[in-house]
Amino acid sequence: MPELIHVGRDEDRDTYYLNMGPQHPSTHGVLRLRLLLKGEEILEAEPIVGYSHRAHEKMAENRNYIQFLPNTSRIDYLSGMIYNIGYCQAVERILGLEVPERAEYIRIICCELNRISSHLLWYGTLLMDLGGFTPFLYCWDDRENILDILDEVTGSRLTYCYGRFGGVTMDVNDEFLQNTLDFCKRFRERLPEYETLVTENIIFQNRCKDVGVFDQELAQDFALTGPILRAMGHKRDVRRDEPYGIYDKFDFDIPTLNGADTFDRFLIRVEEMHQSLSIVEQAVSRIPDGPVMAPKVPRKIKPPKGEYYFAVESARGHFGMFIVSDGTEIPYRIHLRTPSFANLSSLRSVLRGTMIADTVAILGSIDIVLPEIDR
């Protein structure tokens, strides 16, 4: 009989390491958490990333600006539309391209629908991590609706390549707008049901309240952005602070809460879904007629020499693109500042002193997307 592998360290037999992942149901991909445990309590946690590194930034250096388009939606596959459109907007800003107004409205509708679908998936997976399987499938049911709607116009269900420099590939028709409005109506009826099933549930509240509280210093130390930051009481949102596209024409709130715990992060995202719905409805009601592509788009994209930075608000926070151009067709460097990477870095401090069951709740509430962290 082989020797039993003993689980403690020699110097301290009460503690042991537990490798959570890279193959683990709750690490949402291939994140590896190296936990130093004492019983169920976490003494030290170390997130180890890089298992799904696909070298998107390096790929950008080997292809021209247009060819990088399909990559963008694969950085964060859950809010691919926002990344795709965001990249287009960045290059348009550099080139000084004017986008037709109808295209801008279509972009807003698609991005906000995508934000809702991303939040829905987060909602479901958080609940699944906490052991509630049924809300997960309700969320997927609703998300399926969004995917169908977006499929009608973008031709893809997940990794969109809908934006082009100067507009979008395809015009929307009345059916699309009607479907969007129908979805908004349906989803507004579904949200109270979610509230009864999940938000009010005492077990869920006990699992989330006062769990994984972020210290205020963390916000600055790790440059936290997105719903996490807003759950700490900071009213920061790129859509409001540095409006891109035509977000300044819309009327929406940036929800904030002060608890900084898992439950507040949950509530913030739910409220964001409400706000996104309202943006979509406003956009559908005001969408003008006209072309969806700018009339004069240069065939060869050659941004003037220089360094540029452009940011959009993805479903997870501040997504920035730092583009260095040497005046040729191929970018010299594109650095991507992705929100989950910064947010995940704070995990080490937050997990200290919590329990294993809290780990999955906190990890779920941060809402990470591994391919976006590893890029």
Binding site: L69, D148, G155, C161, T196, L197, I202
Partner: protein, 198 residues
């Protein structure tokens, strides 16, 4: 103590949650049983690319310009083309797509000058090996190629004839004009001379 006060509220919240699930229990499932029923697929949905028929040719109108091959970010298109006799443009001899590499970005459709690229309607293509995802787009058109070439040649010949006719007409017109000019010139000369004489 706090937990005791929570009991009625907590129990009510749990019962309300159970109410939600039992309501769904009696509703119709939303599943579409895939192999038997197929959910409708969006018209715009991007699948593997195909060459689409152009009515006036009776076949595809690929001119092997290699624009799509050049712009494809994942290099999944490979084309070779040659110019058949009697036609001004090239025709593809080989048009292979490795759909396993394709990322459905649609850039090839954007650059196609003859709009002969389109999306196939098969959305659930599957295979047992990587080779199964390699498509020969010309396969569907091979038996129509001769006919298409005939049409194209005919068209080319007509064009040529037209051009020839035009050229001839233009030449004739030019000759006429020149002759006229000559005549007029003579007249002019005459008048000129006349004026000069007077």
């Amino acid at each position: 103590m706090q937990s005791l006060l929570d009991i009625p509220r907590g129990a009510r919240s749990l019962l309300k949650g159970m109410g939600v699930t039992i309501r769904h229990f009696f509703r119709k499932p939303v599943t579409v049983e895939y192999p038997r029923k197929r959910a409708p697929v969006a018209k715009a949905h991007r699948n593997a690319i195909v060459l689409i028929e152009k009515d006036d040719i009776g076949s595809h109108n690929c001119i092997a310009c290699l624009q799509c091959e050049k712009i494809c970010p994942s290099a999944c298109i490979s084309i070779t083309g040659s110019r058949p006799d009697g036609i001004a443009f090239k025709r593809p001899d080989k048009f292979d797509v490795d759909f396993a590499l394709c990322s459905d970005c649609g850039l090839c459709l954007d650059v196609c000058p003859t709009d002969t690229l389109g999306y196939s309607e098969v959305y659930d293509a599957a295979g047992y090996s990587r080779a199964d995802s390699k498509f020969d787009l010309l396969e569907a058109w091979r038996d129509k190629e001769g006919e298409a070439l005939g049409t194209l040649r005919e068209r080319e010949r007509k064009k040529k004839e037209e051009r020839e006719a035009k050229r001839k007409a233009a030449e004739e017109a030019k000759a006429k004009a020149a002759a006229k000019e000559k005549a007029e010139g003579k007249e002019d000369d005459k008048t000129g001379n006349g004026t000069a004489a007077s």
